[in-house]
């Protein structure tokens, strides 16, 4: 599903240049649930943003479901993001003047899905994350865990090939974190490919594979016995 070869990325700041990714090679199959681990500043988000076509690598190859991702203009990138990818952010990034349902329906709007169908599909995904009754509520009326579940529903609504989650539990307490991870596991159980960036060991072990990032390279890549989050809930 995801194929990257010798990926490099550095940030230029004035005359200095910070080499963040120093040749990443990674291959992820469809249906995997992968944790990207590493200390703060190790380049996890940078890697995820490149995978999410929100940012571009300086060099290296990236293939998403057989499509080479290279020299995209912003319009093309937007279309690919819309078709292939779902995002979950640490800070939820819901649109504050839109209800939970409208937030979930937004990616479908950019897919030109008619309103009726958009609302139906949004409700379906809100149901899957257990928030059907909260459909008409604004984000500021929801708890952190609920917000993240709305964000996950939104990411899933467009039925993407890959779900990218950058510290999805970073702003949540541990109980709520496990609820969110439980949801992510269930979505993975349905066959969806998911990448979760985290720096917490327990969260990482709820995935099926852990990729350790350090000083811009992958230092370890191992399959793990998945810990089901539901045992904690």
């Amino acid at each position: 599903m995801i194929e990257i070869k010798d990926l490099h990325k550095s940030y230029k700041m004035g005359s200095n240049s910070l080499h963040v990714l120093k040749g990443i090679n990674l291959s992820i199959e469809a249906g995997e649930l992968v944790a990207i681990m590493g200390s703060s500043g190790s380049g996890k988000s940078t890697l995820l943003n490149i995978l999410g076509m929100l940012d571009e690598a300086d060099s290296g190859e990236y293939n998403l479901d057989g499509v080479p991702i290279k020299n995209l203009n912003e319009t093309k990138a937007a279309k690919y993001r819309n078709k292939f990818l779902g995002f979950v952010f640490q800070s939820f990034n819901l649109i504050n003047y839109k209800s939970a349902m409208e937030n979930v329906a937004l990616p479908l709007y950019y897919q030109k899905v008619p309103r009726k169908e958009r609302e139906q599909r949004a409700m379906k995904y809100l149901g899957q994350v257990g928030l059907k009754e909260w459909a008409t509520h604004l984000p500021n009326e929801l708890s952190g865990g609920q917000k993240q579940r709305v964000a996950i529903a939104r990411a899933m609504a467009a039925e993407p090939k890959v779900l990218l989650a950058d510290e999805p539990t970073g702003a949540l307490d541990s109980t709520t974190s496990y609820e969110v991870m439980d949801l992510i596991q269930k979505i993975n159980d349905l066959g969806n490919t998911i990448l979760v960036v985290t720096h917490e060991e327990d969260i990482a072990h709820m995935c099926k594979r852990i990729v350790y990032l350090k000083d811009g390279v992958i230092v370890e890549d191992k399959k793990v016995e998945q810990v089901r989050a539901s045992t904690y809930v």
């Binding site: 999410g52 929100l54 937007a78 990034n93 003047y97 937004l106 939104r154």
Partner: protein
């Protein structure tokens, strides 16, 4: 273009406009005020324009009066202070020598300029009314509305010096009883019987004159008052496209020549140039219209720039939101179109509201000024102006929306998302 008619687009626009109410209202007020000023000012000045036009519509725009006074310089053996007298013969001279003159009507009057009005009677009723000796041409210069069944003086009246007259509506009311037939009836003017052939409708806007004026054929007037070839004054209309001031000058020079007056004698002949006055007033009205156009457009411009500013601020505030939208798949064009559409939509709403408010104010002013004597008629803003204003709003709304729209997409989605 298709997305303009897409319900989804509008739902997004309404969503974002409706959810940011304060911003929306502030935005609208600026442009609303601008278009309101524009509509009200241009409508009001149009009303004044119409008012002036109506004031002059009963008289030829390029008309003037010329009369004789006394000389102020000696010439060809004549002493200063010689009283001058216009003659019928002058008419032919003017007609032949000054081609810019379209109509010339020699006129005499009894009851103005120091002479006593005629005594007019019918049976027991009697009164004093001014009597004018006129040619048919006079109505070419100052059209008279004649009531149905009547007519003005015609050429035959002149040729035969008929004892016929056209009377005013007040004269009719005072001399004839209700239900009596006026046309064909007889009245006595200074003890001579005249048959009434017409009743003219009085119009206050036609310069001097009144509702009691009586018109009789010039030739009859001459016999009645023994005026010979003397003419009180000339009523003259020049062609529309000529310089009336120049024509006035030429006529007076010609008269000086005929009457052996010194060419530099400015006091010998008097004149009043209605065309010139009219030109000045129309110029004044046009000036006001132009000024209000400038003020209105400047206000609209300021309002639209205000919208641009507020949108720019709002785009900055919404950087993160727009970043999220782009992460979810909004293309730069979609983001840009949304911002521009918001701008145009707000501008249009404000514009339409301003137009409605302006029209309301105009009709209010109109109903207040209806009964007072003020040159103000039908203060409407012509539809093309309104449509033009709306078009300008769309164009300006688009142009001003371009700036925040461009700013919204100039930032990379990843940077937009990082924004706090």
């Amino acid at each position: 273009m298709r997305f303009l008619f897409d319900r989804n687009t509008w739902q997004e626009i309404f969503g974002s406009i409706g959810k940011n109410k304060i911003r929306t209202i502030i935005t609208i007020v600026g442009v609303l005020w601008g278009i309101f000023i524009y509509i009200t000012l241009s409508g009001a000045s149009k009303g004044m324009d119409n008012g002036f036009e109506r004031m002059f519509e009963t008289i030829a725009r390029n008309s003037m009066f010329v009369w004789a006074q006394s000389t102020s310089m000696p010439n060809e053996g004549f002493k200063t202070g010689r009283q001058l007298q216009l003659k019928l013969g002058d008419v032919t001279m003017i007609e032949n020598r000054i081609p810019e003159v379209q109509y010339i009507a020699p006129r005499n009057v009894k009851g103005f300029f120091g002479s006593t009005p005629a005594r007019v009677g019918r049976g027991k009723e009697s009164g004093s009314y001014p009597v004018f000796g006129d040619f048919p041409t006079f109505t070419k210069i100052a059209p008279k509305k004649i009531y149905d069944g009547g007519r003005f003086i015609n050429d035959e009246d002149i040729e035969k010096a008929r004892k016929v007259c056209v009377i005013g509506e007040r004269t009719e009311k005072e001399l004839f009883k209700k239900g009596e037939k006026t046309i064909g009836g007889f009245i006595e003017i200074d003890d001579v019987f005249f048959q009434v052939v017409g009743v003219h409708k009085f119009d206050a806007s036609g310069g001097f004159g009144g509702d009691g004026d009586i018109f009789i054929p010039f030739a009859t007037f001459k016999k009645l008052y023994n005026t010979g070839d003397n003419v009180g004054w000339f009523s003259i209309a020049a062609y529309d496209d000529v310089d009336v001031v120049k024509v006035e000058e030429n006529i007076k020079n010609l008269l000086k020549n005929i009457h052996k007056v010194h060419p530099d004698d400015e006091r010998a002949f008097g004149s009043f140039n209605l065309g010139e006055q009219f030109g000045k007033i129309i110029g004044f009205a046009k000036g006001i219209t132009f000024l209000s156009l400038i003020v209105g457009i400047a206000t609209i411009l300021a309002g639209v720039i205000g919208i641009g500013n507020i949108l720019l601020i709002s785009v900055k505030e919404r950087t993160k939101e727009l970043g999220v939208r782009r992460a979810l798949g909004a293309t730069p064009n979609e983001v840009r179109s949304q911002i521009i559409l918001e701008s145009v939509f707000l501008t249009m709403i404000a514009g339409v509201m301003g137009i409605i408010l302006g029209a309301g104010t105009l009709s209010l002013i109109s109903s207040f000024t209806k009964d007072i004597d003020f040159p103000y008629t039908n203060p409407t803003v012509p539809i093309p102006y309104v449509i033009g204003a709306l078009l300008i709003m769309v164009v300006l709304g688009t142009l001003i929306g371009l700036i925040p729209a461009q700013r919204a997409v100039s930032i990379k989605p990843i940077d937009a998302l990082r924004e706090e």
